[in-house]
């Protein structure tokens, strides 16, 4: 056991500096040469916004025009969660209380804040249709609520089984895939929302994504930040 | 599929199928393995003979063929008379060797591995014989290279591993050269199919002379290793660490003849008259002539029986190379005939080496005093083969040497007569002492009264095969004038190979 040296040896630093200078020069030249005339896909997005079923251009890109990116992005999140769980010492997963004893003030605050945060997340979810917002923002707030609860000493309620937690983590992706397949069965292509159902389906997907993102963030936080777990391990039980 | 193509595919496929079955059976089911091996070998004999019949019926321009698309040439087999000769030799001798090997290997370990790879080797040799083009030839050639390795190192001793490494050090770079040559040639000349009289467009000699010479060098480098052409011969004596059946069939017949057969295909059926025009066959002939003398001189100095035989093989293989490199149909016939003749005689000698080492544990020539009393049949067979190699009529070797000699005069290369003469003297000088020791020296006391009463002189599964191959060698010489003998067959082939 020992301390990590703060910096690499001088020759490495000089080499790194040279590489960085090269990359920096190349990059600056390149960004300055970007023409101010290339309008990109903005006109296309505008022209098709009507048909997308949402009014916010970014949401339209994320969920409809490039909804496939978002589908894969949820997969990335889920993957990271599974990865983190596979690395956690107990591998039991989520939601053991982090603070050894509940702080009364913190606990009261959390009890007050958590429902408010859920409400806020609901608003963000809804607002995403026409203004900045959406499932990721909403899910982050749900996740924050969960982290707050865990930090203030709330244990996982008994009615949330480990299966339920796994379900919460994966439901967003599963619903997303199910909707995508449903669209295919209905005669469309993958993630091709029928014009009249676009808004409803997107809201359905976003709602379950919010649940999953919240659960994922809580799991990521707890699975990699449980001091109790580490203490158990340090006392020499591991393997 | 007609019966002709069935025979063609069967001749190549049967040994490979045998190999797969042998591997699948595993180590411990000896009886089943022997049955499958013998059945496979017998089937192969039937198939190669049928292929030869088909070749003869279709000759010279309607040979049966079969193939699939692969790369720019195609992977295809063809039963022609030249190939059929080699295929029949390999197939028939495999059947005999299988009997011998079952006896020889009865107490050895890793028999499944041994017999499996042995079958792969034979399949590859027959594949080489029946390849219709250079790509197919190369594929089988390299399979043969790889499948021989486990056989060379069969005993697993450090000496065996070293012999295996030496073998690969020669064989693998040669494969690389061959590959480069084949690719290059195909780029210049288009898909090259083997054809009697050469398949290259004569115009190429003036458009790409340098490239053609370089390609010829690459190709000969590739096949020259297996043909043990000086200075690429070093692996062959080192490979003598292999068990006797390997030395017998592979290092006297299948592997080394695949090399000289390749030379024959390249010189006669790819380059044809171009080789002579570019001056490359003359160089090849000179190299072969030197190898003959060199191999014979080296053989003189070997006390280890198998090593002496190996250097003799080095020399004898170059008779074949020399034959096909000389611009005369008679010499070509001599070379091709020697391919079969030497096979029968040399396999007898290696069988002898194995039988002797198993029965009386004698490995060196100096331990052979009076061996004729102890193993009379074996040493009779050996003596017959040795006389044949020296070139004494009526055994087979005489016929091929005679054709070679006449052919060299026909081709205007009189120096070959000198080489043949010197070589025969040297052959006599390294083989007759063995014969003399075996029959005329005083035997060890326990050998004086022959084999123990009521017992044969050795494992009959080994004695019978070597008597048979000696008889075949004798028959090839006695019946050289008969229509279906290797010598007549070779003369028929040579007439088409040399139309110019």
């Amino acid at each position: 056991m020992g301390k990590v040296t703060p910096k690499s040896p001088l020759p490495i630093r000089i080499a790194a500096l040279a590489i960085c200078a090269g990359v920096g020069a190349l990059l600056s030249r390149a960004v300055l040469a970007i023409p101010e005339t290339e309008s990109g896909l903005a006109p296309l997005v505008d022209a098709n916004l009507e048909a997308s079923g949402v009014k916010n251009a970014v949401t339209a890109v994320l969920l409809n025009f490039r909804g496939y990116d978002t589908l894969l992005e949820i997969a990335v999140l889920m993957l990271a969660t599974i990865g983190v769980l596979s690395l956690s010492v107990t591998q039991k997963g989520t939601w053991d209380p982090i603070a050894a004893q509940a702080d009364p003030v913190l606990s009261a605050l959390a009890r007050f804040l958590a429902p408010v945060m859920i409400l806020v997340s609901g608003y963000l979810l809804w607002a995403g249709e026409h203004a900045p917002g959406g499932a990721f923002q909403a899910g982050s707030v749900v996740g924050a609520a969960g982290v707050l609860l865990a930090l203030s000493g709330y244990a996982r309620p008994a009615w949330i089984s480990r299966f339920a937690l796994r379900a919460a983590i994966s439901v967003g992706f599963i619903v997303f895939i199910a909707v995508a397949i449903g669209e295919m069965i209905a005669g469309g292509l993958l993630l091709q929302y029928p014009a009249d159902l676009a808004k409803t389906l997107m809201l359905l997907v976003e709602t379950w994504l919010t649940v999953s993102i919240g659960a994922i963030l809580v799991s990521l936080f707890i699975a990699s930040a449980s001091p109790a777990e580490e203490l158990r391990m340090r006392s020499g039980g591991e393997r | 599929m007609t019966w002709e193509t069935t025979a063609l595919v069967g001749a190549v496929g049967a040994p490979f199928l045998t190999a797969v079955l042998i591997f699948a059976l595993g180590e411990h089911r000896d009886a089943a393995r022997s049955r499958i091996n013998l059945a496979g070998a017998a089937l192969t004999v039937v198939a190669v003979v049928a292929a030869a019949v088909a070749a003869r019926a279709g000759a010279p321009d309607a040979y049966p063929s079969a193939g699939i698309a692969l790369l720019d040439i195609g992977f295809s087999l063809r039963a022609d008379m030249l190939g059929a000769l080699f295929a029949v030799v390999a197939g028939v001798l495999w059947l005999i060797t299988t009997v011998y090997a079952i006896g020889y290997m009865s107490r050895a370990s890793d028999r499944a591995r041994f017999f499996g790879f042995f079958s792969v080797c034979v399949g590859s040799a027959i594949g080489i014989a029946l390849s219709a083009n250079l790509l197919t030839f190369f594929v089988f050639y390299e399979v043969l290279t790889l499948a021989t390795y486990p056989l060379v190192i069969h005993s697993g001793t450090p000496a065996a591993l070293k012999g295996g490494r030496t073998y690969l050090t020669y064989a693998l770079p040669a494969g690389g050269a061959l590959a480069a040559g084949v690719v290059w040639l195909n780029l210049i000349a288009g898909p090259v199919e083997f054809a009697a009289g050469g398949s290259l467009d004569p115009a190429l000699a003036s458009t790409h002379p340098g490239a053609l010479i370089a390609i010829f060098a690459l190709l000969i480098l590739g096949v020259g290793v297996k043909a043990a052409l000086f200075p690429l011969h070093g692996w062959l004596p080192a490979a003598m660490v292999a068990p006797a059946p390997v030395s017998s069939l592979l290092h006297a017949v299948a592997v080394v003849k695949a090399g000289v057969f390749g030379i024959a295909r390249i010189v006669l059926e790819v380059y044809g008259p171009l080789g002579h025009e570019l001056g490359v066959t003359q160089v090849l002939a000179a190299l072969a002539g030197f190898t003959i003398i060199f191999g014979s001189v080296r053989a003189l100095a070997q006390d280890d029986f198998k090593k002496r035989l190996a250097f003799s093989t080095v020399a004898q293989l170059s008779y074949i190379t020399l034959g096909v490199a000389l611009a005369s149909p008679i010499a070509i016939a001599g070379g091709i005939a020697h391919l079969a003749h030497h096979a029968a005689m040399k396999i007898t000698m290696f069988f002898t080496a194995g039988a002797v080492s198993e029965e009386v544990k004698a490995y060196r020539v100096s331990e052979f005093d009076g061996l004729g009393r102890r193993m009379p049949l074996t040493m009779t067979a050996f003596s017959l083969a040795a006389i044949g190699i020296v070139g004494v009529p009526p055994v087979a070797g005489f016929t091929s040497k005679w054709l070679l000699g006449v052919g060299s005069i026909d081709a205007g290369s009189g120096w070959v007569i000198a080489v043949l003469g010197i070589s025969s003297v040297l052959n006599a000088a390294y083989f007759f002492p063995i014969i003399h020791r075996a029959w005329f020296r005083t035997p060890k006391p326990e050998w004086a009264h022959g084999p123990a009463a009521g017992k044969p002189e050795g494992d009959m599964r080994m004695i019978v095969p070597l008597v048979m191959t000696a008889a075949i060698g004798l028959a090839m010489g006695l019946l050289a004038g008969v229509a279906l003998s290797p010598a007549s067959w070779a003369q028929t082939v040579a007439a088409w190979e040399f139309p110019w």
Binding site: V4, T5, C20, V31, L41, V58, R66, D69, L79, S224 | -
Partner: protein
């Protein structure tokens, strides 16, 4: 200098700073943070590009890319941190090479 240039140059600088940190800081936590700085740089470049035509509404596509990129970065950061932490609990140090660790005098205690 336009607004776009400012953003993209700042982004490029951040990217390079992160790159330098990644190469010269042996501590795993530093490395992960350095990568985060670099990603922030990339996002800056994207945000700058969204506004490359003066006087128009920003291009939504780079924004969507940034949002996607942020989620990806958060995921990979979380995983990298978990990995670093696990390495620390297994080896007692947070560096990749043993040569980057100063052995303490009282290492046995």
């Amino acid at each position: 200098m336009s607004q776009t240039d400012l953003y993209t140059l700042a982004g490029s600088t951040l990217f390079v700073i992160g790159l330098y940190g990644l190469m010269t800081r042996p501590h795993l936590l530093h490395k992960v943070l350095a990568l985060n700085i670099s990603s922030a740089g990339v996002f800056f470049v994207l945000v700058g590009i969204a506004r490359r035509i003066p006087g128009t509404t920003p291009d939504p596509l780079p924004h969507a890319m940034v949002l996607t990129g942020i989620v990806v970065t958060v995921s990979s950061t979380a995983f990298a941190l978990a990995l670093a932490k696990r390495i620390f609990t297994e080896t007692g140090t947070a560096a990749l090479d043993a040569s980057d660790v100063d052995v303490e005098e009282d290492a046995g205690g």
